[in-house]
Symmetry: C2
Subunit: 422 residues, 2 copies
Amino acid sequence: MANKKNAFYAQSGGVTAVINASACGLIETARANKDKIGKVYAGRNGIIGALTEDLIDTSKESKKDIAALRHTPSGAFGSCRYKLKSVEENRREYERLIEVFEAHNIGYFFYNGGGDSADTCLKVSQLSKKMGYPIQAIHVPKTVDNDLPITDNCPGFGSVAKYIATSVREASFDVRSMAKTSTKVFVVEVMGRHAGWIAAAGGLATTEDTDLPIVILFPEVIFDRAKFMAKVKEKVDQYGYVSVVVSEGVKDPEGKFLADQGLMDAFGHAQLGGVAPVVANMIREDLGLKYHWAVADYLQRAARHIASKNDVEQAYAMGKAAVELALKGKNSVMPTVVRKKDSPYRWSVGEAPLSRVANKEKMMPKSFISRDGFDITPKCRKYLEPLIKGEDYPPYKNGLPQYVMLKNVAVEKKLDTEFEVK
Amino acid sequence: MANKKNAFYAQSGGVTAVINASACGLIETARANKDKIGKVYAGRNGIIGALTEDLIDTSKESKKDIAALRHTPSGAFGSCRYKLKSVEENRREYERLIEVFEAHNIGYFFYNGGGDSADTCLKVSQLSKKMGYPIQAIHVPKTVDNDLPITDNCPGFGSVAKYIATSVREASFDVRSMAKTSTKVFVVEVMGRHAGWIAAAGGLATTEDTDLPIVILFPEVIFDRAKFMAKVKEKVDQYGYVSVVVSEGVKDPEGKFLADQGLMDAFGHAQLGGVAPVVANMIREDLGLKYHWAVADYLQRAARHIASKNDVEQAYAMGKAAVELALKGKNSVMPTVVRKKDSPYRWSVGEAPLSRVANKEKMMPKSFISRDGFDITPKCRKYLEPLIKGEDYPPYKNGLPQYVMLKNVAVEKKLDTEFEVK
């Protein structure tokens, strides 16, 4: 097939424990359809690789190494935080993309990311029409923030949720043991600047057969210090201890991030801290209780060792479906997870037009947060529970998970023009 | 056997992912020797339970629940931070212990803890002689700090080490993906106020087949800001990114904890922070590099979900050996881990007299820290590697590890005296 087109694949934004599982599904499916699709070129460091014509030839990777992507966290080809401007603002960027795609006979544009990259993907598909260069742009959903619309959930989220639920359970057991003479309050800070999906996962740590006291601070709920302290005290009075799960995005009544307390060091230099120590210090001031605090940061989104099996399977399925949609001639779409049933959990792969995905954030429904603002509702639990189900352990060697580092061989450049990424 | 004695067991100090595995080994072995040993009474909240005659009857727990202790982190009977004073200072405490032991026909005192509790255990055995009440005092080693002498390593440490090595590897993969346009330095704070054993474990994240740039700040090495920044810069120049593992116990040239930087909030109130944000802020000031930081805190020592198999087996073996030593008539001893061979790893159970254990801290040998002070040596790696080997996953239910909560039924009090713990 002489007119067989190559594919471009790039990872965008913050990486996850399972974004490489999507890459795995995509590359394996493309390889299985060699009669219809050429090579898969990956952008080195995401879309920047396309702009600078720095492409990685994934056909140089062994079958075994591509398979190992399924259990390797992070972005194997490098990701970036770089949002293309609008066509009006920087038409040159889009023209450059088309030049690079044309030079490498690329007919498929697979972009693996969140809301911003869905928007970029949409723009590429629109421009390809305008500029007369045919390219099918397919977005592959990924984000720990779980904030893409239409899809029931986003690959990457389930594994963070499992990590947070497990860690909160484990730390709660720890505090429970120590509370008599030592720590009574444990505060853990989790990701999610705009939406409380990850914080909500902390609520899963307590179940009917394992009753643990947990207080959640959601970014959706304005921080009320007095109400919060009353809730902490209530739990400590009842259980002897409490775990507090606080989202990095929690804001005070003035709309300021709680983390941003204007901390200064001894020399008067501004210091950037997290929200966990801020909340812990408040508890010390108001209640005088002994505390410990943790900030999970990258540990949470990189924790492939405790990934959710459902999440890994969905991430793989999204990558696979992206190629299948492309082969069906689809353009400007995103495969989605469609929930068929809560219990036993059943899901299938759907699709959504990018025009309905780009630049739309899915917030936590109000009905997912308890009336007092510190807990999840049974409805939320029903939604979250299937997403953390199942274990999918990576292989270990000498006590450590074995993750693959690809060779990432560069494709020879065909253009003699440079492009400066600003 | 009419003169069959009961046993007392208590958990002491900071708990670990595997201290309950020692409890499991101890209780199961006692149950298997019902002809020689009576009931195992556990102290509720450690030694405080003995002083206040608040004993837990472990015979009320099912076989299944005791077996589940093997995979349950934290201290199932409650622990405490309470060090008995010297006999001269508070003879009444020791007399009270003997009263309680006598009232409940206790002939075996099993104390599961670190250096302080080994000292308590020794004192109890000495006093029992002086006071004419025969009791065999056996110490069961436990500490994430790995600082007990004679024993090759301490149950609890291997699992923290595995958690830290894995987390540093995973987070390093994450930063590696993002470094082109975003985070270049990841700083993670780990436990270990006096000894750098846990920080050293971060060095295991990089191996021959998975080369990662890691800089370690040990409590044994005085913090040299200029030298540290030069090392961070060197790694970022070479790899494009770096992970920094910093022990909570790192001190500046004035001997002050680096974490204790006199942070003030906007109102001039002193704030307690961690050392990770301090180091991260310094990197921002000196090198202008984008960073992220994490504080693992309790997450590290409670992380039973990624416990080391060797650690779990040794923890169980120590509990089992404690009973076996008692049945052999031993007193004032501690079972130990004896290393027979590094690779393949072979170990056996030994024993040490408490007089050689109590109040002695095993520091990291100088030969375990690289000359520049920022890395571990091959000798250190050879020591650490077997300790994190093997996985020992807990059972899961609905996506969460299933940990047991015991019934903890109280033994009826026999004394009509109260004892106030100060």
